[in-house]
Subunit: 246 residues, 2 copies
DNA sequence: GGACACAGCTGATCCAGATCAGGGAGCCCG
DNA sequence: CGGGCTCCCTGATCTGGATCAGCTGTGTCC
């Protein structure tokens, strides 16, 4: 059934003493040295929410911030709209990844978040979590880690890259992130349109199409509508190297 | 003497119970409710280092990370070099701003940091600070705040903007950051070359020159080598609006 | 003072990717 | 089943900013 699994990645259920295995917080959990009471504290503040339907907003720019959330299933897109009404996609969030960290400093969400397909979340009250983090150094570390990681991620796309480099980095990044959560890395289904990818990579959707075609002609990928198969990883990784800094 | 102050911004000295007034950590200090012992804890881990000479590296990509630092005086540039040897500037840090937060997640600095002019720093051991943060919720909050703020900053430059928008945003941002620390906002001296500005904004240095000239012709700024005077703030702010999201 | 290096400016040309235009394929709904 | 979506693809043209080339002004070192 690994084919089916690759097509519809969803985090497995956690239980009272274990996080969903894909979750970015599982690392905090895996650290030994906490008694069950503390783990229960951490679990108590998790609230499973959703499903949100495709196109539904999880939050909007300016909404009061009080919770961060881990994606359990589905894909979330965050974006802002500029004064000319053009959409700038800030990120895509796959199962196991954390949304909302950039909202801490302003106490309001600085962007909109929308479900690309049916989305379920684990929501954590941020203030409760921060309070708990003062008693659980491992949790505090994990929060620092996640925040710092997001700075790095945001910095990557700010660079000066060609369309080929950007698209390759996009594919390799998606692939790596699926792989890290245990999903098939070389075959997956994109949940977003070419326009969304373009708005994320700062390219026109036509350019995204053309680069996909070029990659296919080179034998580096098979692209059929949203179905992607990576057939020439090394070449793509070489292109992506500058962007991803690997 | 405010003219002289504008030309050479430097943070005032702190003392045993007070941070330098420009420092990003002063907020944690201003919060009431801590006894002097705790404040002393915080001060004890501050190490004044420098001065670093112009062109000297504060750290290099790959160096082990153990401390974050607040700029006390001077300007710091962070940058990476791509596979073709081209420099990508990631940021400029003015007095009061914090360097090194993006290193937390990897335990190594992900970029180089170099002094643009004589630089002095307040260096804080990060592990000690994190440990202290478990006992000082205000400090923990401040760290979360700073990290989250950096995510937002990094996101800004990733957008899709014209050369005019980028340069205007650069000038307004520098101006606002000086203003926030109590320095003259409409008249300042850039410490970096046109090439550095271009590498930061993802523009050729020639383009930066041409945009400066255009701004001058429009009467929005007086530019003479590195000396800048903003004479048409509203127009520049309008241009910068999309980038800075204000 | 003279020679050299480097920062900055400006003009001419080029090009990657945007924009414009049109066409086809899958999909939902009456 | 047909009509009208939206998404995606592809070709033609345009353009903002890069690149190339050359010049000027300002240190700085001998």
């Amino acid at each position: 059934m690994s084919g089916a699994r690759a097509r519809d990645p969803i985090a497995d259920d956690g239980d009272a003493y274990k996080f969903c295995s894909t979750c970015a917080f599982s690392a905090a959990c895996l650290q030994s040295g906490y008694d069950k009471t503390q783990l229960r504290d951490l679990h108590v503040l998790v609230e499973h929410v959703g499903p949100f339907a495709e196109g539904e907003h999880l939050f909007r720019e300016g909404d009061a911030f009080n919770a961060i959330a881990a994606v359990r299933g589905g894909t979330v897109k965050t974006y802002v709209t500029d004064t000319e009404g053009r959409e700038q996609v800030q990120g895509f969030y796959l199962p196991g990844e954390i949304i909302g960290l950039s909202a801490i400093s302003q106490a309001r969400y600085p962007c909109n978040a929308i479900a690309m397909d049916p989305v379920t979340l684990c929501r954590f009250s941020f203030s409760t979590m921060a309070e708990l983090a003062t008693r659980m150094p491992g949790l505090q570390q994990q929060l620092f880690f996640l925040l710092s990681q997001d700075i790095g991620k945001a910095t990557l796309l700010a660079g000066n890259y060609t369309a080929d480099e950007r698209v390759a980095a996009f594919l390799i990044s998606i692939s790596q992130r699926y792989a890290a959560r245990g999903f098939a890395p070389d075959r997956f289904r994109l949940t977003m349109t070419r326009t969304d990818i373009g708005n994320y990579l700062r390219l026109a959707s036509e350019t995204v199409s053309r680069v996909f075609r070029r990659f296919q002609d080179e034998g580096w990928a098979r692209v059929e509508r949203r179905e992607i198969e990576l057939t020439g990883r090394p070449a793509l990784e070489l292109l992506a190297r500058n962007v991803l800094r690997t």
